[in-house]
Every structure is written in C-alpha cells, then in structure tokens.
Symmetry: none
Subunit: 213 residues, 4 copies
C-alpha cells in the first residue's frame, strides 16, 4: 500500500468532517460568517472564557440573540470555529498535495503550505494554537485534531522506512518539525523578523537538516 493511497481515505474523511457544520443549513450565511469572524478575532486575542458573547455580537454587527439562532451555545460556537479552521488548515496543506514528488519536495510543500496558512490567517493560526486541548472542545473537535496528525505521521513513517530521515521515532521528528514551525511562525508574527521567501527557505533548510539522515 502506497502512502498516497493510504492517506487518501483519511484525507477525505477529514475534509468531510471539517465541512459538516460549516456550510450546512439554508441559513443566510453572511450573518453566520460575520459571527464566526468576530469570534475568531476575539477568541484568538482574549481566549474563550475571556470573551463575552455580547461582545462577539457587537463585533459581528448582529444582535446578541442572533448568535443563538446560529449556534446552540457559546461552546458550540468555539467548536464550530475550531472545526472550521482546522478544516481550512488541513485543506490548505493537503489539497493537491504532491504525494508523488520526491520526499524532499514533499517536505518543501508541507513547509510552504503550513506557512501559507499561518500567514494568510494569522488569527486562525493563533486561535488553533490557543485552543489546542481546551476542555470545552467536543468529541468532533478532538477527533478532528487527532485525525489531523495522521498524514504527517504516515509521511514520516514512510521516510524512515526509506532511510531518508534519521533513525529516530517518527513522533519525535514530527514534534521537532511542528514545534519548529510553530516557533518560527509565532516569532515572525510577533515581528521579531521579516519572513520573506529567502528567510523561509533558510528556516526550512535548518529543519530539514534536523531530521534528514
């Protein structure tokens, strides 16, 4: 079984899961989107418990009661938000991923796509970081979170078999790569340095050195 085939089913599952609650019913979508956008901004900045629902409503330009027409509760709202953006993130990375390319090229694609997401949606990136493992995430959010590890795990399993990466447990390599990614992305967002293409390539080269045999 090849990697491409192995992850295809998973990918499909993940993307469908992410969609489910995002664009479902025939509610006018603009208000729903406005609420999600406002919540994203506020939850990313002040956290879930630190953000009052009427504040979300105000920023979304809707009445406070309206939020409850689109989401059952504040918890349902965070979870919808989490699932939405986790889904977007996964799509950004996995859609048309060059599974047939050489491993180094796949790594480059991975790296670029992750940064692409973090730079295009800095608030979503911060939100996902902050709400990682929060106790109010529901089963679906947690399942999505866990499922999102699979593709990387499969890729690194494969690279190790091919003796491209170091002879180190894949989970450690994953932790190093994702950790480094998050570190660089956060530092860039905190304006510690400009993250142009050249710098991004430098960082990528460093991280590749970390894991390659």
């Amino acid at each position: 079984m090849t990697l491409a085939k192995a992850t295809l089913k998973e990918r499909t599952f993940i993307l469908m899961a992410a969609r489910t609650h995002t664009a479902s019913l025939s509610e006018r979508p603009d208000k729903r989107e406005a609420i999600l956008a406002a919540a994203l901004e506020l939850f990313a900045e002040r956290g879930f418990h630190g953000t009052a629902v009427p504040l979300v409503a105000e920023k979304a330009g809707v009445g406070a009661g309206t939020i409850y027409r689109y989401f059952e509760s504040k918890e349902a709202l965070v979870n919808a938000l989490y699932q939405q953006w986790k889904g977007v993130m996964l799509q950004s990375i996995l859609l048309d991923f060059p599974h047939e390319a050489p491993i180094r090229g796949q790594f480059h694609a991975f790296w670029r796509r992750m940064f692409g997401f973090a730079q295009e949606h800095p608030q979503a990136f911060a939100f996902l970081q902050l709400h990682h493992h929060a106790p109010y995430l529901d089963a679906r959010s947690i399942a999505l979170e866990e499922a999102s590890h699979q593709p990387a795990r499969a890729l690194f399993e494969e690279t190790r078999k091919q003796q491209i990466t170091k002879d180190v447990p894949p989970d450690i390599l994953i932790a190093i790569v994702f950790g480094a990614f998050i570190g660089v992305a956060r530092a860039a967002q905190e304006h510690r340095f400009a993250l142009d293409e050249a710098t991004l390539d430098q960082a990528e080269a460093c991280v590749w050195e970390a894991i390659r045999r």
Copy 2:
C-alpha cells in the same frame, strides 16, 4: 567581551527580579504556597478566566476570602505565579551554567536543563506556555518574560560570530530551537513517547543538526 561576562549582569538582574515578589513578606508561607500550587494546577488546565477563585480556594484547602489576604486580586495571583515560575525556570537553566564550556557542551546543558524543568514541573511548563502574552500580565511579568530571552539571544549571537551555527538570523535559530523543544516536551507530556535519556539525546542531536553549520 565574552559571553560569560555579557550575560552575568543580565542573569543577576533576571534572577533578582524573579525573586522580588516571590519570597517577600513574612506571612506564614504554607497557605500562600498552597494557594499558588492550587492556582498553578488549575490555571494550567483551565486557563485564567476559566478558573473561579473559590475553586482555587477549595483545591488549596483554604477559605475563599483567604486568597485575598495573600493576593490583592485574581490578576495579582496569576502574575505572582507567572513571575515565580518564570524565575524558577530561569534559575534552573542559568544557575551555574557552564559558560566556559565549548559551545556544543553549552547547547547540551541548555537542552538538558530546559527538559529538566519541563519534566520536573510539567504544570508550570504548561502554565507558562498558556499564559505567554496574556493581556492580564502586568509590567513586571512582561519585563521578566522579555528579559528571559536575553541569555539565549546572547548565546546564539556569539555562536554565529564564531561561525559554529548556520549563517541565519539568530532569532530564527532561537525560534527553531525553542519551538522544537516545546514541541518535543509537549508531545512527551501527552504520552506520545517515553522521554528517556537516550531519546532526549537523539532529539538534541536532531536540533543541533538544525542549527550547526
């Protein structure tokens, strides 16, 4: 000017700053410590806004009012906690640091000490991660946070001058190293793998490869 001398003053400043509010008044320390311990556990798990003061009191085994005898407000409590543990972390890393050792040895010391702290005080580690850049941190907490970057920055600046590490902006190397550290420590705490000495050395070797020339 050598690295050892350069950081000595800073170290001293940082450690003193960290101490100032931690072990100040001559109040009987057991209740204060119990409150701090309870707050650490709860804030790390549920966040600042997600934790009610009476819950902290109950876990500390004191009355709710008692917390306000030791801390002016809930905010003062988080800040005391932040400063305490940031201080402990800095001490764990910097106390008797082998500034005169070869760079690779210094890196090893750094890596080992950071993990030592994260493993000895997993809740404190989680707490510091979660409350990084929270809007309720006061000036002292923020100053301490910023000061805590200095030693690493000085070390990496120096290694680059000596052409030991890659010709890459030090901030990026720092982001990679700390990011990878956090990734590995978190993954280990989430029980994705055992973090014995051998594994730790493997991870360290990987990260060194990332930055060495």
Copy 3:
C-alpha cells in the same frame, strides 16, 4: 444689576445641569424610574452602604442585573438620584420665582416652596439631607450642590444691602433660615405636630423675625 437678572443665568445653569443626566437616553423610562424610586426610598431609610443592590432590584420589581443596564454602578445610581432630586428641588423653588415681588413676598415664596417640596417628596427631602457631603458623590453632584446655594446667597446679599435684614453676615442668616426650615420640616415629618397652612405661616413669621432688621 438687579437680583432677578443676577440669578437668571445661575438658575438656568443649575436647572440645565440638573436635567442633563436625568432624562437623557431613550431607554424605556419605566424601569429606570422604578429603580430610581426604589433606590430613593431605601437610600433615604437605610443609607447608601446600608442598602444592598438586590434589595433595590426587588423593590423596583426588576432583576438585579437590570440595574446595571441603567446605571454603571451603585455609585452612579446614588449620583443620578442625587442630581435628579436636587434638580427637582431647585426647580420647585426657582421656577417662576417672583423675583420682582417685595422682599417679604419673596421670602414667603421661598418658604412655601421649600415646604411644598419637603411635603410632596418627603423621601427625597430625607435622602438629600442624608447624602449631603457623602464621599461617594461625584463632581457633578458636588457642583450642583454648591450651585444650589447661589440663589439664596444672592437674595440675602441683596436684602442686606437694602437694609431689610439684620446687619449680620448673610451666610449666618442663610444658615439660620435653612436650619430652621430643616428643623421644622423634620419635626413635622416625625409627626411632632400637624403642619397646616396656619402653622406654616406661624413658623415663617418666626423665622422672618429672626432675620429682619
């Protein structure tokens, strides 16, 4: 410059100041009025610190939280109340005051109007007495209080110039007249005697004797 002209501006200022915060926003007024009425009764009886907010809410027939939709804080509530009733009192006395009448007639008008207010609004009268100079009164309340002295001061200054009243500092005459007024009004409210028109006229005659030359 005549008295009428001298006090006209002041009167206008005072009445406008009193209005400003009293009938401002377009909130449905009934709840606001119910809260103010309940607060008046309770603050007059038990004082500011002696009255819990939920008690005001209960007496007003609203939820406790509702009070904070209309008033920023308990302090804001007392101040609104103080300004409202000080304003009403000033209006009762000054509106269409017969500035052109002979002095004795002006004194009669003053006396009658003050008693009119105290008898029509005994709780407001008690409230204003009790909260005179309280430390939680804000700048506007204090300004209104101080401004409210002006008309009487101007009147007594004038009477002294015309040698109608005794050659005694006006502030003392004012203190005697207002003190006697408060004494009589309070005694009447404590049911020490009926305050019919005849009795009121007797008291007025006594006080006029106190100040007239």
Copy 4:
C-alpha cells in the same frame, strides 16, 4: 412645680443612663477609649455601614479581635458611642444649668453650651447628627434620644406660659431653635465663616428674635 424641680429627676435619669455602659467594668479603659475615639472619627466621616471594623481597629491601634472584647458587635459599638456622646452633650448643657436665672439668661446659657459642645467635639456633633434615627440604634439609644428632648420641651412650655415666647406650639419653637443651631454650627464647621464670640452672639440674638413675643 417649678421647672428646676421638674427637670431634676429627668436630668438625673438621663445622666445615669448615659453613664451606664461608658465606664463600667474593670476593663483597662485606655483600649476601650481608643476604640471609641477611632470609631467616632470614622463613623462621623464615613457612616456606620461605610466603616469596616478592622479599619476602626487599625486607627485605634489595637487588634481587630480586641474590639470584640469590649463590644459585643459592631452595632453594640455604635450604640455605646451614641449613648456616650449623647450623654456628654446632655451633661455639657445641663450640668449646673442656671435654672434660676431669667429666661433670656437661660436661653443664652443654652445657646452657648450647645455651641461649646459642637465646637469642642465637632466629630461627636457630626456623629450624633448623622446617626440620628438610624435603624441600628437600640432601645436605650432611642430612649436617650427621646429623653434628651425633655428639658428643652419643659423650658419652652414654661416660657410660653409666662408669655415670653410667641404663642406658637412649643415643638415648633424647639424645631426652629435647634434647627437654626444645627444650621449655624454646621455652616461654621464647613468653614463658611469664623464663629467668634461676637458672631455667636449675633446669631443668638437672631434666634431669640424668632421666638420671643
């Protein structure tokens, strides 16, 4: 029955009542006095409910618990204070009162003694004003308060019989005289004018005019 005899019994009762709780047990009196002095100052300034017991303790230079060795509760403390100062005030006025002097002389004595008390003990004067009719005053305080009206009532009853004062209900004359007294004393304490002997005499003359036939 002469006035002197009529009030003698009452006076005795009043003064004894006032003493009862003031200097009774063999407790060291200095702490008790310190507590009463501190409470007087704070209650006069901030009211009963606005003053925290530990604040009284701090100002008195004793431990918070100590207050409860001398007074059963905060309410007991206000009542002791009220009774103490009402007693002192009555003594100041009634002790060696020239009952045999001509009425005008008695009025002069009354006036001077009341002002003497208000000026010697401005905080006690303010305290008694503020706590007049407070719901936490106990039966003894209320009885003392009511008894304190008797001497004046008897005096004014008598003067009316002798046709010295106006043919007006004595309670109204009392209300005018006490009201004017409070008005002048308060105005003086608020520094609206200096209250030297000459001014005091002027005010007295005014008030006498108010009531004399």
